[in-house]
């Protein structure tokens, strides 16, 4: 088992799923104790273990399919993902409608193990597969006016029952966005698979954004439009509750959300008697890589 200090090598630290599944056995506990004795300096940093696949693909927030965590796994199969067209608009040389296949052609798919921190104070560790967003965006040659890029999720009420709900106050489609330097950061990924398989619908098939240092709501799913813009895009949760969800959505244990303390998180699976709680890390543990993007910014104001 490869154990590396989480903040140091965020994208390659991998624990096998079977090692995870054995975690609760007594022998494993002894082994962990021995490992801790052998590396006392590391004892304070909990090891990140992969969240089991059935939780990654069975416990999701994807309101297009319903409010409950189990709704996406139950209903997302109603969405057709082939063919998948992507509309590119705004401040770029190449705009228009593209087949996803053409966009991804020739791009090498990498595996990245990232922590995923939800604003609701739970977290996972997920082995994604995807391509750096930079390589996707470069194809469209954004121009100098492109300061932000917005991502739109599919809006298709006939296949997305959450969008048919009379009781939702979300103005579909779901929109998220990044500053261009955030979008071009090497950690920012367009995900096309998970656990070595094509991305399941409930996780945002056929492709989704993954920005590991931001709360999960920033990483839009099932993307159909990429829009380069001069002005900061109006994003869904920010519009809905501006005092709760900022444009940035950076993971920050020092800035509480009105509903949840962000100081700690429950790493799933949590259990009743051991919640698997751990301290939330600044920028979700990716501070070394991304803190410089925000130097000089008041992060309590730009949350």
């Amino acid at each position: 088992m490869l154990i590396k200090k989480p903040e140091k090598i965020p994208s390659t630290e991998i624990t096998s799923e079977s090692a995870y599944l054995n975690r609760r056995s007594f022998g494993k506990l002894l082994a962990a104790g021995a490992a801790m004795a052998a590396f006392p300096a590391r004892a304070a940093v909990p090891v990140d273990e992969l969240t089991p696949e059935e939780i990654v693909t069975g416990y999701n927030n994807f309101y297009e399919f319903g409010m409950d965590k189990s709704d996406p796994a139950e209903y997302a199969h109603e969405m057709t993902t082939e063919p998948w067209k992507v509309r590119v608009t705004g401040e770029a040389a190449k705009t228009g409608e593209f087949d996803l296949e053409d966009i991804l052609r020739g791009l090498e798919v990498e595996e990245r193990v990232y922590r995923l921190r939800c604003v609701e104070a739970w977290s996972m560790v997920v082995p994604w597969m995807g391509v750096p967003l930079k390589k996707v965006l470069d194809q469209f040659q954004p121009n100098g006016n492109a300061k932000y890029v917005a991502f739109e999720t599919l809006k298709r009420p006939s296949e997305m029952r959450g969008q048919r709900s009379f009781f939702s106050s979300i103005d579909w489609p779901y929109v998220e966005g990044l500053r261009m330097d955030e979008a071009y950061h090497p950690l920012t990924l367009m995900v096309t698979g998970v656990y070595g398989k094509p991305l399941p619908n409930q996780n945002g098939a056929p492709w989704r954004l993954m920005v590991p240092w931001k709360y999960g709501f920033k990483s839009g799913k099932s993307i159909v439009r990429i829009h380069f813009t001069r002005r900061q895009p109006k994003t869904t949760w920010n519009l809905l509750a501006p005092n709760e969800y900022g444009f940035y959505g950076n993971v920050n244990p020092n800035v509480d959300h009105p509903r949840w303390s962000q100081a700690t998180e429950r790493r799933l699976p949590s259990s009743l008697f051991n919640q698997n709680r751990r301290d939330t890390l600044m920028f979700n543990g990716y501070a070394e890589e991304v803190a410089s993007l925000y130097s000089g910014m008041d992060l309590a104001r730009y949350y």
Binding site: R24, I55, G58, Y59, Y63, G66, M67, K69, S70, W122, G162, S165, F166, F167, S168, S169, I170, L240, A241, D256, P258, R259, S261, R266, L268, P269, S270, S271, L272, Q275, R277
Partner: protein, 231 residues
């Protein structure tokens, strides 16, 4: 209909029994019934049942009035106590399984998160009402008892505010429960309006009766009072 109350008690125990079974299963096979985040799942389960049962407690007098099923009123105290029971389980699940028994954390939530402050206020009211729900307290507090127990409306209103504030989107459930509460309140208002009208009619007619009675037998004032007051 003698079996009504025990049957209702049995039904109202089912959600707690399911939770007990789910916790037992969670210990045997983690994630089996309560999912990846069992603490959260329990809090939501008990919260929903607390709200349903407290609304049922409010519905009882309306049901009795509308259906004439008099027996049901005998179950009202029991249903109220069940509401307190589920609210307390909700609170316990939150303190134990979300806040991990950290009093500092609970205190921080109580002071910083208004939806929790409001929920806690609702629980305190239900606690006071449960503690004074016995006949002994009814006797001791006399007319004050009725006024005290009218706080149940405040408790339910606070519980609904709690639910509105914690709902991020998908308002179907909270709208439904609010509508039930509104309906029960309207039913009471219409009854009060109705009974006020009939009381007015009754008092004027009884005054007339008293007048004619006094004219006939020159009854004393105390008799008149006894004619008007039974109500």
């Amino acid at each position: 209909m003698a079996a009504f109350k025990p049957a209702l008690a049995f039904l109202l125990l089912l959600p707690a029994a399911w939770a007990g079974y789910a916790v037992w299963m969670e210990v045997q096979a983690p994630g089996s019934l309560l999912g990846a985040d069992p603490g959260e799942a329990l809090v939501l389960h008990f919260g929903e049942w607390a709200l349903r049962v407290v609304l049922l407690a409010l519905a009882i007098s309306s049901i009795q009035r509308r259906t004439g099923f008099k027996q049901i009123v005998r179950s009202r105290r029991m249903v109220g106590l069940f509401a307190f029971f589920y609210t307390s389980l909700h609170l316990f699940a939150y303190v134990g399984f979300l806040a991990a028994f950290s009093l500092a954390e609970v205190f921080a939530d109580l002071t910083e998160r208004t939806y929790i402050t409001v929920g806690f206020a609702a629980w305190l009211i239900l606690l006071a009402l449960s503690a004074t729900s016995t006949r002994g307290w009814q006797r001791r507090l006399r007319r004050g008892w009725k006024r005290l127990h009218q706080l149940v409306y405040v408790a339910v209103a606070l519980a609904l505010i709690h639910f509105w504030w914690l709902t991020k989107d998908g308002y179907a459930e909270v709208v439904l429960y609010t509508a039930v509460f509104a309906l029960l309140m309207l039913e009471r208002l219409s009854r009060q309006a109705g009974s006020a009208a009939s009381a007015l009619a009754a008092s004027s007619s009884s005054r007339n009766a008293a007048d004619s009675a006094s004219a006939m037998r020159s009854t004393s004032g105390s008799n008149r009072v006894s004619l008007i007051s039974p109500k």
